[in-house]
């Protein structure tokens, strides 16, 4: 049982890390602000989500597990809003120039 949980954690964390690496590569390689934001939100939402899912079996008690999920939900809420704000600011700057 313990081993199964550990294997699950490792697989989920690796998946999360993959999304973070992919998001970082996208941030460095993509040509403009909008596509870079697109890459970043993948890292934030899916990457952090997989890391949180991977940590759940290791949390030990339900309160810690719930806190982890709340952290993920809050990051999703704020990162999606912030990326929209950045995209709008970028568009305004483009219009002006």
């Amino acid at each position: 049982m313990k081993t199964a949980a550990d294997v699950f954690t490792i697989i989920a964390m690796l998946a999360g890390l993959f999304f973070f690496v992919a998001g970082t590569v996208g941030l460095l390689r993509f040509p403009d602000t909008y596509t870079r934001l697109h890459a970043l939100t993948k890292a934030d939402n899916l990457g952090l989500g997989m890391v949180v899912v991977g940590l759940l079996p290791q949390a030990g008690n339900i309160v810690v597990a719930l806190k982890l999920i709340v952290v993920w939900l809050l990051v999703m809420l704020t990162s999606s809003d912030v990326s929209q704000l950045i995209a709008r600011a970028a568009r305004r700057q483009e219009k002006r120039s």
Binding site: L74, L77, T78, D81, L85, R88
Partner: protein, 314 residues
């Protein structure tokens, strides 16, 4: 494994610090300083100083970062003129010598530290029972070294006075910051409606667990301050004019309660800021609860800047 992480964080910290100092553009320097603060948070976590890590993340990276971004955007119009000026050779040599001397002195001090380093931790562990709190950091901040915390709160208050004193005469007593014009269906308005209820609960939670776990009034106040700033930035509620009496009352509430209980301690327990036997926990909670709103309002007012709009009489 841990040492590999430590070395990685150390290298990144040095690189970011170098970038922040060397880069010419002010905004780029600020953009380097904020991740520097977040990395420092990780460094404190590796050292298992969770309280310091929380403070660094909230105050060092978050609040100071926001302050610096504001400062950088204010300096933007004069930046090209400032960059065109090159200091003379003598000035540069003097600055280099002075900076090197300071670095050498600090390095010598670090290298000559006795091993093991002098520590008061066993003393704190021995006497923590008397304070009634379980988190040694809180015990130090509000009992053993309460005078430091009191002075910190007062220094922040002076900071607000300093910021206000930058107001032009016609705006004195008016509203700080510029008026925000944001559409009612804006995403910022949505965020400012959804996030603050959650943020305020989290802020109070961080404050409350500070008695026994990492956390406390400073970190909690920063979260609450951020929520209020969000509401102001979205234009849902305007900033209050600095002449409002309730605003000033909240500002001085924390330090005033702190000083009053300190004087009461002088009468009841024989020394300023001493707590009578058995009352320590209750007094600490009262002081922390009074400091929380004061600190939150202080941080908001520090960030939002001096009054910029004269108050229109209704």
């Amino acid at each position: 494994m841990i040492s590999a992480i430590s070395v990685g964080i150390g290298i990144l910290l040095l690189a970011l610090a170098l970038w922040t100092v060397v880069v010419r553009d002010t905004f780029a320097a600020v953009a380097g300083f904020i991740p520097y603060g977040l990395l420092l948070t990780l460094a404190w976590l590796v050292l298992r100083a969770v309280d310091v890590a929380l403070t660094e993340a909230a105050i060092g990276a978050g609040l100071t970062g926001a302050l610096l971004i504001r400062a950088a955007s204010r300096l933007h119009p004069t930046e090209t003129a400032a960059q065109a000026e090159t200091p003379g050779l003598a000035t540069r040599v003097a600055a280099g010598v002075a900076a090197t001397a300071v670095a050498v002195v600090i390095a010598l001090c670090l290298l000559r530290l006795p091993d093991p380093a002098p520590t008061l931790a066993p003393e704190v562990a021995r006497h923590i029972q008397a304070t009634g709190v379980g988190n040694p950091i809180t015990a130090v901040l509000l009992s053993f070294r309460a005078i430091d915390t009191l002075l910190e709160a007062i220094v922040l208050l002076f900071g607000v006075v300093g910021v206000w004193s930058l107001a032009p005469d016609r705006c004195w007593g008016g509203r700080p910051g510029l008026a925000q014009a944001v559409g009612p269906n804006d995403i910022l308005v949505y965020l400012a409606r959804v996030l603050p209820p959650i943020g305020v609960v989290i802020g109070i939670y961080i404050f409350w667990v500070g008695a026994d776990h990492p956390g406390g009034k400073f970190q909690g106040a920063t979260v609450i301050a951020a929520m209020w700033l969000l509401v102001m930035m979205s234009g849902l509620r305007d900033a209050p004019p600095v002449s409002r009496r309730w605003l000033r009352a909240v500002l001085i509430l924390g330090p005033a309660v702190f000083i009053a209980l300190g004087l009461l301690g002088a009468v009841m327990a024989g020394a300023f800021l001493a707590y009578p036997d058995g009352w320590a926990k209750l007094w600490i909670i009262i002081i922390e609860a009074a400091l929380l709103p004061s600190l939150a309002v202080t941080l908001v007012l520090l960030l939002i800047g001096p009054p910029q709009r004269p108050e229109v009489s209704p």
